[in-house]
Amino acid sequence: MSVDALYREQVLKHARDPIHFRRVEHAQHVPGNNPLCGDKLDLYVTIDGNTITDVSFHGAGCAISMASASMMSELLSGLDTATAGTLVDEVNAMLAESVDSVVSINLQDLPIAALGEVRRYPSRVKCATLAWHAMAAALRGDSDPVSTE
């Protein structure tokens, strides 16, 4: 399997030009970091009632971490918290599983499924999970810093 399958255009597009790449005031802020490689990500989540009105992020990291956060912002903005919670759990499960595992039906047709390819590169899985761990914390109402370690 070629590395092109991971660094496909869909992923690189998000990495080059991330969606909702901005700091947001008055949002729930979860700082995240991946101490192993130095990726830093600040996640900003705005929730109104049961609706996630906005997911934004800011930070610096590799293409995989940036693309993952960007895809997440696109996917979860506008969803209700329960649906978002399910997707977050499914993405975290997908990234934790082996490369041959079946991707859940909810994720199969989403851009984020492309990041499942990262499972072939064990040292890079944490790059993809950082944003999603931060999001899981935000949905729990937890603003403590998250770390991939």
Partner: protein, 420 residues
Amino acid sequence: MNAASANNVISDDALETRMRALREDFPALHQEVNGQPLVFLDSAASSQRSNAVIEAMRHYESHDHANVHRGVHTLSHRATDAYEGARERVRQFMNAGSVREIIFTRGTTEAINLVAQTWGISNLKAGDEVVVTHLEHHANIVPWQMLADRIGIKLVVAPVEENGDVIAERVIECFTDRTRLLAIASVSNALGTILPLDIVIPAAKARDITVLVDGAQHAPHAPIDVANLGADFFAFSGHKMTGPTGIGVLWGREALLEAMPPWQGGGDMIETVSFEGTTYNALPYKFEAGTPYIAGAVGLAAAIDYLEGVGMDNVQRYEGILLDYLTEQMLAEDDIRIIGTAPKKASVVSFLMDDVHPHDLGTIVDQRGIAVRTGHHCAMPVMSLLEVPGTARASLALYNWREDIDALIDALATVRNLFR
């Protein structure tokens, strides 16, 4: 230099021809990784081992192993001879005066911690200053920070220039009446910078400052001559110089070591033990509690034999040729920026590619069979100082050749195309 003009010195071409044959001695280099021939450019993290080292350790483990310094039986004698023979080999390699000054440790990190926890605790007090440079790796920062927390010493950080160089005068400016120790790398693992020890050590000694040299990246690249270096402690690791992991050396001046309290307590480091009072063994055993890594010492001695067979001067010169070639190839690429361009460098090249994070670069070139290090190289302070999140680093050893560099440059084109 024009090598051919000097007596008894072979030309660069002849040297390169000779050095290119060394690859055959390193079995790990002859394999495919991800379907491509392995190109190993991560020797600054840990080097590969020669058949000579592997065979020496295998022979020891297969024939000679028993505990050292204990038994009257034959295998114990053989193990002791092998271990103490290795110590003598290290003494010669470093040009040290006595085997009493050669302490085996697990590596550079343990050697520096040993000095911090014994010499440091018994010689330093609150307000005393320890000078390090901004490009030290974590093993020569954290042990001193721990002393700062424990006994209140002050850590003073000498600056690094934007090009990664360390200017001797700027280190010397850090010395005050309270400076007790200069703890300094000989070669930067992150940037390859060769530090001006020839100037800063005499300046430190003139002020009666003790000097510890972190030689982890020096040992693989250049001869060590502690008799003429002027330092008080010198630490290095076996595994960065084609020896095994888990073995390293602390050299210290005998008078200093003699005056230091022991570190860890246990067997081998004692003379007599009773509950009324224990007396400690003589140097170097005072600092070697417990059964040591005997096979590691044997492997280190074999690595030294191998390196000296090649000649450390030849290693240094050949790596210089490769470094020039790699630097030249990288400078030819508009989108590659070399991080660390000090005038004097060892064969370690940190670099960044425009718009590509080092980790992505590392993953992609790995798919071409090329091993480079990516990240902060256990030297986070210098990365922050240079305002880079980390770098990709290609490091060259005596067993690399030009084709390895060509393969890297070629793979960087793949990275470039993928991200374009």
